[in-house]
């Protein structure tokens, strides 16, 4: 049991922690999400949590954030004056203690109320926004946060948050996390905050976090992006199978040693050059996009410049709401899982087979043996971490849910795979696996249309369309696909130059 115990962290050992886990662990029924462990965060620390999908990162921060109670051990919030601290046994008191300790969270699964405006969402997070003129106070706080973190990205304060793009919603949540309030933010938890942000905005966030920590604030940062981890963290905790296996200052790791510590083999992305396939466009007329059989086509550009819309247009034109042809022409891999992908009441198995029902029908009913075999096959191929495919899909960690969506699409025979930033929240090791699968499928003649916010992924493509203001600005192919070219073409200036 004691093997997960944290060593004294490198930074500021003398100061009182903002939060301390004393042998705290968490189990969901028979599933052990987090083994009992000790962990603490002190003022001014910027801790990164890394680990494979399902390692327990979200569970750990959910304990810190009082979303649920530990199954054993204690979560303590020692007061700012270094008092003995409070531990709330009941839900409301736990949350209250967490809140008065100045702990805020930006969740992996976005937690805004889509029908409310940005200010109204802030009102829910900050209890002191009541009485006369609360809207004005809320507006001041939000504007302050936006100016500090994402200068130049003012977002409409009157529109319901649901009308914003995924990236904008993520920015709103981040801004809310750092916004001024009755209890100032002392520790902000960022659970994969950059997963839907493009590079430039992610860079703004990284800069802000560094400034925040330098001024004495603390951050727990979860990401599968190694570059960001090294850019932000001064301390890195590595998690594996519900335990913290290493917890050391960031400078003690190199990129390779960190990946190795997470239990992955470091793979060189895009090591081997591919021969781009030749042939006619198979998407048909009526699209700005074109793709050849066996080609991997990338959609790039700043987030929210029309890529997602172009993707769903493309997909919906290839798939009908009416027809039930023998085999669908295209399948879709959703990035916004909860909105576009998951069937929340279903088991993992049923979620995997959902796009292939036609192929599973024998004599009018679904062949459940074949279905189970299909799911098992893909569990093995793509590494879905679960002991029981009959378990509800929501019992999986975020990254593993994403793998299910991948399996769902690849399990069909559709010649075109449309992917909407599908690696959101997928861990490094799995990414490498999925890249392999994509390449192999492409070699076998499948076409991939792939929108991504990661430049690394775009570089895997044979051809790239860079979007700007809802339209294709530039088309890049072969060796011309470089980080510099994509970034440069993403901005208006480059286009006119």
């Amino acid at each position: 049991m004691g093997d997960g115990t944290a060593r004294a962290p490198g930074a500021a050992p003398g100061r009182t922690p903002i939060v301390r886990l004393d042998g705290a662990g968490r189990a969901f029924g028979a599933v052990r999400a987090l083994h009992p462990l000790d962990f603490a965060v002190r003022p001014g620390e910027c801790v990164a949590l890394v680990g494979h999908n399902g390692a327990g990162k979200s569970t750990l921060v959910n304990l810190v954030n009082a979303v649920f109670a530990p199954s054993e051990g204690r979560v303590v919030y020692p007061g700012p004056e270094g008092g003995d601290g409070a531990e709330g046994p009941t839900g409301a008191r736990r949350v209250e203690a967490r809140r008065s300790a100045g702990i805020r969270a930006v969740h992996q699964e976005l937690s805004l109320a889509p029908n409310l405006t940005l200010l109204e969402n802030l009102r829910i997070a900050q209890r002191d926004l009541t009485g006369r003129g609360w809207r004005k106070r809320a507006a001041d706080r939000m504007r302050g946060a936006f100016d500090a973190i994402f200068p130049g990205h003012g977002i409409a304060t009157r529109a319901p948050v649901g009308d914003l793009t995924l990236a904008e919603r993520q920015m709103v949540e981040i801004a809310m996390g750092f916004a001024e309030g009755a209890e100032p933010a002392r520790l902000v938890i960022l659970d994969e905050p950059t997963s839907s942000l493009d590079a430039s905005i992610a860079a703004q966030l990284v800069a802000h976090v560094r400034a925040f920590c330098a001024a004495g604030g603390s951050v727990i940062f979860i990401s599968h992006m190694m570059a960001e981890v090294f850019a932000i963290a001064d301390r890195i905790a590595v998690m594996k199978d519900g335990r913290i296996t290493e917890d050391r200052p960031a400078r003690a790791f190199t990129q390779d040693s960190l990946v190795a510590a997470m239990g992955h083999v470091a793979t060189e992305v895009a090591a081997t050059a591919r021969v781009a396939p030749e042939g006619p466009d198979i998407l048909g007329p009526g699209h700005d996009l074109s793709a050849r059989a066996g080609e991997i086509v990338g959609l790039a550009g700043l987030a929210g410049h029309g890529q997602a819309a172009a993707l769903s247009r493309l997909y919906l034109s290839l798939a009908s709401d009416w027809g039930r042809g023998r085999a669908p022409r295209a399948v879709f891999v959703a990035g916004d899982r909860a909105r576009d992908g998951i069937f929340p009441l279903w088991s993992i198995r049923r979620n995997v087979s959902a796009a292939r029902l036609g192929g599973l029908v024998r004599r009018g009913t679904i062949d459940r043996g074949a279905e189970a075999a299909l799911a098992q096959d893909w569990q093995a191929r793509i590494g879905i971490r679960t002991g029981d495919l009959s378990a509800p899909i929501l019992s999986l960690s975020g990254g593993n849910q994403q793998k299910v969506l991948f399996a769902r699409a690849l399990a069909t025979e559709a010649p075109i795979v449309v992917m909407d930033d599908p690696m959101r929240g997928v861990d490094v090791g799995t990414k490498a696996q999925v890249y392999e699968i994509i390449r192999a499928e492409a070699e076998a003649g499948r076409t991939f249309v792939w929108y991504s916010t990661e430049t690394d992924e775009i570089r895997l493509c044979d051809r790239v369309f860079v979007y700007r203001n809802g339209r294709i600005g530039t088309e890049l192919a072969g060796d011309a696909i470089t980080e510099e070219a994509i970034v440069a073409n993403s901005f208006e200036m480059a286009a006119t130059a």
């Binding site: 954030n65 979303v67 839900g91 409301a92 949350v95 209250e96 809140r99 969270a105 969740h107 937690s111 805004l112 109320a113 889509p114 029908n115 409310l116 109204e120 969402n121 009102r123 829910i124 997070a125 209890r127 926004l129 009541t130 009485g131 609360w134 409409a156 009157r158 529109a159 319901p160 649901g162 009308d163």
Partner: protein
């Protein structure tokens, strides 16, 4: 205001205006102080019930007991409130508390509200029959006076509708408390994470709905001067239709109080419009359906996308 918010409220306003124009054209006599009052005074209780239904829909539920509850309140108002005012008002307060308790029960046990309210519609109906096995009772004097007051210039019905819309708008859309209630419909989990008690909030929402429904029943008695156990059964569907006509949606806490009141007025007016058309009795019922469809289909003109 963003364009989207504008459309949400613009559409109900336009439907009402067009219908009103059609009514005036068919029946110029309606274009007077007396005429407007006759057209709209029965819309006042409907508007109150619609606001109550809107609050329930706003937190993600549907209330199938609205009509039965308003009937029950009408029975209490026409009997107990007249005969034993102390007991009567206590009963009305208890009814509001019962609504709040239902809300708490629904949240705490995660019950489907539609079934609970379906069951409660029988219960309220039973209580109403027990109170008034046969129609009767009378309106409290002050209530009758309030509902038949003749203010200068603008008829009571129009003033009352405006007041209801304004009050509901302030409570639901502007106050910081209303934000919490709408948040409950939008994302109950994030409220829980922020330390709010969903049970208390749902109880509050239902209590507020109960308050408006009680006002509806009282207003109805003030107009009709008496009650019976079936007097307002139609309010259930009427209030749901009113919320939707007013731009509300069944899920996600997207509603508009002003729209809901306008929706209630539109529905009432649609009935008058049909009367003035003088259709054959065979088709009078069907025409109500057609006009409901026509008004809702107008939303297409505004190019609302499917979800």
């Amino acid at each position: 205001m963003t364009p989207r918010l504008d459309i949400r409220i613009l559409l109900p306003v336009l439907s009402l205006a067009i219908l009103l124009a059609a009514v005036f054209w068919l029946q110029p006599r309606a274009m007077s102080y007396l005429g407007l009052n006759l057209l709209f005074n029965l819309a006042v209780p409907v508007a109150l019930a619609t606001v109550a239904q809107m609050i329930v829909i706003m937190v993600g539920d549907i209330d199938l007991s609205m009509g039965a509850f308003v009937s029950f309140v009408a029975c209490v108002t026409a009997t107990l409130v007249v005969d034993a005012p102390g007991l009567g008002y206590a009963a009305l307060a208890a009814a509001i508390l019962a609504y709040a308790a239902l809300g708490a029960l629904i949240e705490a046990r995660r019950l489907p509200a539609i079934v609970v309210t379906l069951g409660m519609s029988f219960a309220w109906g039973g209580l109403a029959v027990l109170l008034l096995p046969s129609p009767g009772g009378s309106a409290p004097g002050w209530l009758r006076a309030v509902m038949t007051v003749k203010p200068p210039l603008v008829p009571m019905a129009v003033l009352a509708s405006a007041a209801i819309a304004l009050a509901a708008h302030l409570v639901v859309m502007r106050s910081s408390f209303g934000v919490l209630l709408r948040g409950l419909g939008g994302n109950a989990r994030s409220l829980g994470r922020a330390g709010w008690s969903p049970v208390a909030l749902r109880a509050a929402a239902y209590g507020l709905a109960g308050l408006f429904a009680v006002l509806s029943g009282m207003a109805l008695v003030g107009l009709s001067t008496a009650a019976d156990a079936n007097i307002a059964l139609r309010y259930t569907l009427l209030s749901i239709a009113g919320v939707i006509l007013g731009g509300g949606e069944f899920t996600g806490g997207r509603v508009s109080p002003v729209g809901a009141v306008i929706g209630a007025l539109t529905l009432t007016l649609a009935g008058s419009f049909l009367s003035f058309l003088r259709l054959s009795p065979d088709w009078q019922i069907g025409a109500q359906g057609v006009i409901l469809i026509a008004v809702l289909a107008a939303r297409l003109l505004f190019g609302r996308r499917a979800r």
